[in-house]
């Protein structure tokens, strides 16, 4: 089923290549849906959309067969993104919740995040194959979280090199056993050691990847969303793939450092990108405008927690009160906010006064 869908897409891609390039700005989603969204939520978006988008959405309609499907949307020439869903990882979605995709050069394809399950990894690989014959040379893992790396195994073959932050291997090593157990229980997905593929190329500072007439700049950041966040900048289209350094609609999840994250956002905000790709949210975002809600959430949380700590309020009191004004602005707020508060409180109480 998916195979037919993809070959159909290839046809369209060929015939509408020029149209696609022209329609890209329209494809940038401005949907800020505070409620749980689905890959098709834009179908109900009242904003006018070009006809092309409508046809893409038709093609992308899920067959609801229970089988993993991939809808790779072109957001810029040679840049394709599959949109995740704003849900907790569970047995139904099998952890396939993040935005993932690829960038294609003349000589090489670079996959950016491999998916939230081995099956989604295979579907992504199939989806890429249906769109291009250019070989996959790189799989870039933007960070250690399961929804971004569990498809790794599907890409493991001669000629494919895995790329990650220099702290990714250590993070995978420290978390793998724990993650495997969690996947089996929460997702009903059986993982083994083989599903975790450590990076062949470790990025410390910056690294350039040449895809053939297309250069990607990878930057390994200091601790922010996690301690192993990697971003990808495509010079050709000025696309900044931020992965989970940018959450939209889905509440940002702090698993590294609140202070560090704000610092990194300050830095990447200055990058003159035409668009950014969030790890959770629409397939493409205006940059840096669309970082505003996340920056607001994180800064307000920090301001309130600093005040609470100064007033001698306890972590329990902070969890009950800090940052509550953001509640209606985000999906999964109740699921992740209390934990964000606890994590951030434990970090901020060590700040020097």
């Amino acid at each position: 089923m998916a195979g037919i869908m993809f070959s159909d897409r290839v046809e369209r891609r060929a015939t509408h290549a020029s149209e696609l390039a022209g329609g890209i700005e329209h494809l940038l989603s401005r949907v800020h849906n505070p409620g749980p969204s689905t890959p098709t939520h834009r179908a109900t978006d009242p904003m006018p959309r070009p006809a092309l988008l409508a046809s893409l959405l038709l093609l992308a309609a899920s067959p609801c067969s229970g089988r993993t499907t991939i809808h790779l949307e072109p957001i810029a020439p040679g840049v394709f993104v599959h949109q995740g869903v704003h849900e907790l990882p569970d047995r139904h979605n099998q952890g396939e919740i993040a935005n993932i995709g690829f960038i294609e050069g003349q000589r090489c394809v670079a996959v950016i995040d491999s998916g939230g399950s081995p099956e989604q990894g295979r579907a992504l690989r199939e989806g890429i194959r249906a769109l291009t014959r250019t070989p996959i040379c790189y799989v870039i893992n933007t960070h250690v979280h399961p929804d971004h790396i569990y498809g790794n195994r599907a890409f493991r073959e001669p000629g494919v090199r895995f790329v990650g932050h220099h702290k990714l291997a250590a993070a995978m090593a420290a978390r793998a056993a724990f993650y495997i157990d969690k996947a089996s229980r929460d997702l009903d997905v059986a993982l083994t050691a083989e599903d975790f593929v450590l990076p062949d190329i470790e990025v410390n500072g910056e690294l350039e990847l040449d895809l053939g007439e297309r250069r990607l700049t990878l930057v390994a950041h200091a601790t922010a969303h996690t301690d192993n966040d990697l971003t990808v900048y495509d010079e050709t289209t000025q696309t900044l793939w931020l992965a989970d350094l940018l959450f939209m609609d889905h509440l940002p999840v702090i698993d590294g450092s609140l202070n560090g994250w704000l610092k990194v956002l300050d830095r990447v905000r200055a990058i003159p990108a035409k668009r950014a790709v969030p790890g959770h949210g629409p397939v493409a975002a205006f940059w840096p405008a669309d970082a505003a809600p996340e920056i607001r959430y994180l800064s307000e949380l920090r301001t309130e927690l600093r005040a609470a700590i100064k007033q001698g309020r306890t972590i329990e009191q902070a969890v009950a009160s800090a940052g509550r004004s953001e509640r209606n602005r985000w999906a999964l707020f109740d699921e992740f906010h209390p934990r964000n508060v606890a994590t951030a409180y434990a970090e901020l109480e060590w700040e020097e006064d």
Binding site: H145, P146, A177, Y179, T223, S257
Partner: protein, 272 residues
């Protein structure tokens, strides 16, 4: 091209890092099995237990947002007087790999035998605060906590930063100045990763060796106000909130020792 395959031993590690969703299974319901079948005998012996909130109260979240950071507050219902006081409070987490969480010794100089801390809870479990008064009586308060994976959860965040400040400590006083002859609330923050020894590293294929605070001694002008024996259930960066009664100005001092022999101390001069 070389790739390092990960090799796993079949250590059964428990659950739940990023997702607050919690486990299903046999242990979802409050369950006294572990307590009845051994823990009671181990921690209390044959003595009678007075259950209830007359002497001691325990508050804990029913559902823990973060199993590695579960805030507990133990509140005493009697003042610490030389005639009658709480001598010791033992914290037991029934279903943890090491059920003994900590024990805290108090004196009349403590003023109030309250203690708050953050702990790791590894599976759905009763948490118990067992108080022994100076007359030898045992009082117990308990709370059921739904959490899982607290002990085996990988050390998240920024371990490097945490290791860099290992042993750093500070007191945070509740007010600007001391109030003599009255219980004064203070908080002791200890920077220590408190590694449980249950977190497995897949590269070394080894369990990260346990490295945790074993003893905490707090005194004011050399008179002990709170002494604790602690174990791996105490969260990373141990944090204790408690009272002491100063007679006047003086030095509040904390000394800690970890299981690898590391010793650290801090002193703060306080004035009324």
């Amino acid at each position: 091209m070389h790739r390092r395959p990960l090799v796993f031993s079949s250590l059964l590690l428990a659950i739940a890092l990023l997702s607050p969703s919690l486990g299903s299974g046999a242990s979802d319901m409050p369950d006294e099995t572990a307590w009845v079948n051994g823990l009671r005998a181990k921690f209390i012996g044959e003595k009678a237990i007075e259950e209830g909130n007359d002497v001691i109260e325990l508050s804990a979240p029913y559902r823990a947002e973060d199993p590695a950071l579960v805030p507990l507050q133990i509140t005493s219902r009697i003042p610490q007087t030389p005639e009658r006081f709480i001598r010791k409070i033992t914290l037991v987490i029934d279903n943890n790999p090491v059920p003994f969480g900590a024990s805290f010794e108090f004196t009349p100089d403590s003023g109030k035998a309250d203690i708050a801390m953050r702990v790791r809870v590894n599976s759905y479990s009763y948490v118990r605060a067992i108080a022994e008064t100076n007359d030898g009586k045992v009082h117990m308060a308990k709370a059921f906590v739904k959490a899982s994976g607290g002990c085996s959860a990988p050390i998240g965040g920024d371990l490097e930063a945490a290791m860099a400040r290992l042993g750093k400590m500070k007191f945070k006083m509740d007010g600007e100045r001391l109030t003599p002859q009255q219980p004064n609330l203070t908080q002791l923050l200890i920077s220590h990763p408190n590694i449980t020894g249950l977190q497995m590293n897949q590269i070394s294929r080894m369990v990260q060796p346990a490295h945790y605070v074993e003893e905490v001694k707090v005194s004011f002008n050399d008179r002990p106000v709170m002494t604790a024996q602690t174990d791996i259930a105490i969260s990373a960066d141990p944090n204790f909130r408690f009272y002491f009664v100063p007679q006047g100005q003086g030095e509040l001092k904390a000394e800690i020792r970890d299981n690898l022999g590391g010793r650290y101390s801090t002193t703060q001069t306080l004035t009324p």
